[in-house]
């Protein structure tokens, strides 16, 4: 088998060479505690502050709280305005990433009221629905910028305007969108933005919650006074430097990559339509991130399809790749009104900065053969 094709950029991106270069000096055998008062500490501090600026710049400015990644940023965002014990009302869409939905479930168990919004239009959350969900005691609204599975982009700027009118901060998980869009433009007046290093060609294990408007933040972790005690713990200099470099890289290359990868994704859609009968593209190009092709096949279990494609040299995902390695039916798909026959058979093909036209052609071939092998393989989908 030739080199496997990696079309799972929404799960994680390979580290970009220039990011690695930026990190390299900080991985050498030097002490890197940015909190230390001595010369070593000062050097690390300077690097961390530079990274902080790079991250803020990607968001059009803001107060950056570094975290261990997107999950922690989402958890912090949802709870940081609720007090302790947490109280009040939270509005989220029901197609959020599990980092938001599970955090909400945990808050609900503590007595917080959660309202969920179902998308009303092509997988998008509608402003009117948000308008009527916000209450007197609503403390925060959270709607993702782009869905990790389907790639659907949400009208966050419009929703943020609604929230702002009611004086409620809107948080948005933009870990996926950050590679492809001008965030200040896309997110408008959103108050809090979650980012993750490894979704934008940076390292795993680092992310940020960026506060676009000044606000009090109640920490979820308690420890030393780092990051003004809002997120204690020794700042990991090398990771933060890499994250900063990745943000700067995204700002620099975003437009060109979105264009280039967008063309490849469009070509892939064309090839799939030609090669695979009854294929269904679940999200139209206008509504999605340029790199994400979410596609469903009838009578074709997606988990098996992903396994077969992997054996044949194509890495894609069914649903959201969760840590257990299990594939779950996608609640996002039901929300998109995809017919039942297709619902077990949706896969996410996500391209990225390293993707090539040759890979697109190879992927279409592998996928067509895999669909052929996998259709009707389980009793669920036995031919009538």
């Amino acid at each position: 088998m030739a080199h496997p094709i990696y079309f799972d950029y929404n799960a994680t991106t390979p580290l970009a060479p220039e990011v690695r270069e930026a990190m390299d000096p900080w991985l050498d055998s030097i002490p890197t505690n940015p909190g230390a008062v001595h010369s070593f500490g000062r050097a690390a501090r300077a690097a961390v502050e530079q990274a902080r600026e790079q991250v803020a710049d990607l968001c059009g400015g803001g107060d950056v709280i570094f975290t261990s990644g997107g999950t922690e940023a989402d958890n912090l965002a949802l709870s940081c305005r609720l007090g302790w014990p947490p109280r009040g009302h939270v509005v989220v869409s029901d197609i959020e990433h599990p980092a938001v939905l599970a955090a909400c479930a945990s808050l609900a168990a503590l007595g917080v009221e959660i309202s969920t919004l179902s998308p009303c239009d092509q997988g998008r959350v509608c402003a009117e629905d948000l308008e009527s969900a916000i209450r007197e005691d609503t403390r925060i609204v959270s709607v993702q910028a782009a869905n990790n599975e389907t790639g659907t982009v949400q009208p966050v700027a419009e929703l943020a305007a609604v929230a702002e009118r009611h004086g409620v901060p809107l948080h948005t998980d933009a870990v996926q969108a950050a590679s492809w869009f001008n965030l200040p433009e896309l997110l408008g007046g959103a108050s809090m933005i979650s980012l993750a290093g490894h979704k934008i060609a940076g390292p795993t294990g680092v992310g940020a919650l960026v506060l676009r408007t000044p606000m009090e933040v109640q920490p979820t972790l308690h420890g030393g006074g780092q990051q003004r005690a809002r997120r204690p713990g020794t700042e990991p200099t090398a990771l933060l430097v890499g994250f900063g470099a990745a943000c700067e890289r995204a700002s620099r290359e975003r437009v060109e990559q979105a264009e280039r990868v967008g063309v490849l994704a469009r070509e892939l859609v064309g090839m799939l339509k030609t090669r695979i009968p009854e294929v269904r593209i679940t999200v139209t190009e206008a509504d999605r991130m340029p790199n994400t092709v979410h596609v469903a096949f009838p009578d074709c279990p997606a988990d098996l399809l992903v396994a077969r494609a992997d054996l044949d040299g194509l890495a894609i995902s069914a649903g959201s790749a969760c840590a257990s390695g299990l594939s779950h039916g996608s609640h996002v798909l039901a929300a998109l009104g995809v017919p039942a026959r297709y619902r077990d058979g949706a896969v996410r093909i996500s391209l990225g900065y390293g993707s090539t036209r040759e890979e697109v052609e190879g992927a279409a071939l592998i996928l067509a053969a895999s669909v052929d092998a996998v259709r009707y393989a389980t009793p669920d989908v036995a031919p009538a």
Binding site: L304, A307, D310, L311, G325, S327, H328, A373, V374, T378
Partner: protein, 361 residues
Amino acid sequence: MSERIAVAMSGGVDSSVAAALLAEAGHDVVGVTLQLWDYSEANLAEGKGRCCSPADIADARAVAAQVDFPHYVFDHTEHFREQIVEPFLDDYTAGLTPSPCISCNRHVKFDLLWRMAEALGATRLATGHYVRIEDTDDRPRIHRAVDKDKDQSYFLFDVPRAQLGHVMFPLGHLDKNEVRDHARRLGLTVADKPESFELCFIPDGDKDEFINRERPQEAGRPVSISGTDGERMGTASGLHRYTIGQRKGLGVSSSQRLYVLDVAPETDTIVVGAEDGLYSSSLTAVRCNWVAIEAPTESLRVQAKIRHRHTPAEATLQPNSDGTYDVRFDDEQRAVTPGQGVAFYDHGLLLGGGWIARATP
């Protein structure tokens, strides 16, 4: 490239070693684990040692990563409930004592899993069962394992012959200690993992409580306990709590040791009596499946095994006109239990088997 072998992996030491040995021998191995039960509500205090709990799935993945072959997990909890667990509950409701592992082999491991393996391009399916299989002519012949204590051929009697042609059992010629030795030699993380003895969907082993939970109406089902003479000796609830040969928990007092001799669902009666009433001279087997031979049309001498921990007993198999078989034991057998499987052997060779419909004293 050599042919692709899918290995059914539970996360236990047996299937892990089966997969690792095949990979070591240079085969193109693909590990497959089915998640069959949702353990989120179950008591997982003990965690490991249950087939295919999250911890087991993690173990299977770890072994695959360690030995370096692909491994995939597929969620089939719905099929499993439909095809195995609901019939299991139905059987207890009907006064039978079911053997879900036999049905699971037929419907899940050697059917569903095989179809998935084929979709993955595999031409063979291997499991960690302790049985030997040889391919002579075009008929697969299943023999008891070298490790007589671990032999699992009984659990395979109901697998249709067509589903055995492509099957491999890499552990059939090994005993358990050798399997553990291999696991240690290969440095597998599961080498010293304890064995599971409970049904995978009842991790705490409390079958009665499981049925009470799943079928609440059964918990309160009134039953009478009566003697062999029909005399009513007491009342209780939950027909499923009684199985033939049971001595504990009868809730009636008597000068002699009492055993459950019969479970009669039509009258909701549990018949109890002295141990000598437990012995049967014959049984009737229904829904038989033939592995090494065609369905016998004349009487046949066999050894019949009526439950997992039973030494096969000499018997004569007599076909009936309706496709069922009478099994007449040379020596009376204890606790012949309707709902259990009966496997027929010609010494070490598995001929086939069926399901016990009734016993005759």
